[in-house]
Symmetry: C2
Subunit: 149 residues, 2 copies
């Protein structure tokens, strides 16, 4: 019985497409959608950022910006759920996308993860985006539905 | 709206697990299951089989055996569907598994393909079985649900 579906999003076109599929499926199943958006700290926590006062000035506004973006992406899915009478919940978390998805899937005890075949990565020509590849590769036993983009 | 689900099987434990998941989901969705079993001709059409009368004697019984096995695997899924009040259909086809799955998905206009992460391959330690990998990699736009084994 599928009652809870995790839908990670990075705001990409592929993520939007997979979210639409997820909301349709959730509606048909009367399941709850958990919209997950991850603040990917790798994007600004490079080894090259010097420690000290200056880096704080630089990092905080970036972190704020990324959090706002993440909230926006997950919010879009929530809106889509509301429009379709599907129960939903937003989760914003920080970390490595693959780890964050697997951790959240376990924490919220979802029965299914729905993801796009590609995210924002420049390697979109590869057969699978690195995040989707990573989640499939992980030890998690939760089934994954891959929506092609 | 998911109304038709393709469930390829090679009779492996992983395929059985994905079939159980598929039947549960189909029941919840009131969808039809198409159980697909493929006679993989690669397994006996090696380049080393000599042409002529002798090869016929060898090949025909093998082909019969593989067909019988394929019918058995798909039949198991049909039984599971019957037990759960899920409509189903059996398709037996010959060819390369990846090509056959993609072709059948298009022909029967399914909305979803459900597969195990690994099939019978000896490379089960790899992150994805070669057939599942192949179907995800293919140009088909049909979503794929991967059940972990």
């Amino acid at each position: 019985m599928i009652s809870k579906i995790l839908v990670p999003t990075d705001g990409s076109r592929a993520a939007r497409k997979s979210a639409m599929y997820a909301v349709d499926l959730a509606k048909q199943l009367k399941a709850t959608v958990i919209a997950l958006s991850i603040i990917d700290k790798r994007s600004f926590m490079g080894q090259t950022v010097p420690a000290g006062k200056t880096s704080r000035h630089v990092i905080e506004p970036i972190e704020d910006y990324l959090r706002e973006a993440a909230e926006g992406y997950a919010g879009e899915i929530k809106k889509l759920c509301d429009k379709n009478g599907v129960q939903s919940k937003i989760v914003i978390t920080a970390g490595h996308p693959v780890e964050a998805i697997v951790k959240e899937a376990a924490r919220t005890k979802v029965n299914l993860i729905i993801m796009g075949s590609h995210g924002k990565s420049a390697l979109a020509v590869a057969f699978l985006g690195s995040v989707t590849y990573g989640v499939i590769h992980k030890e998690t036993k939760i089934p994954i539905l891959v929506v092609k983009s």
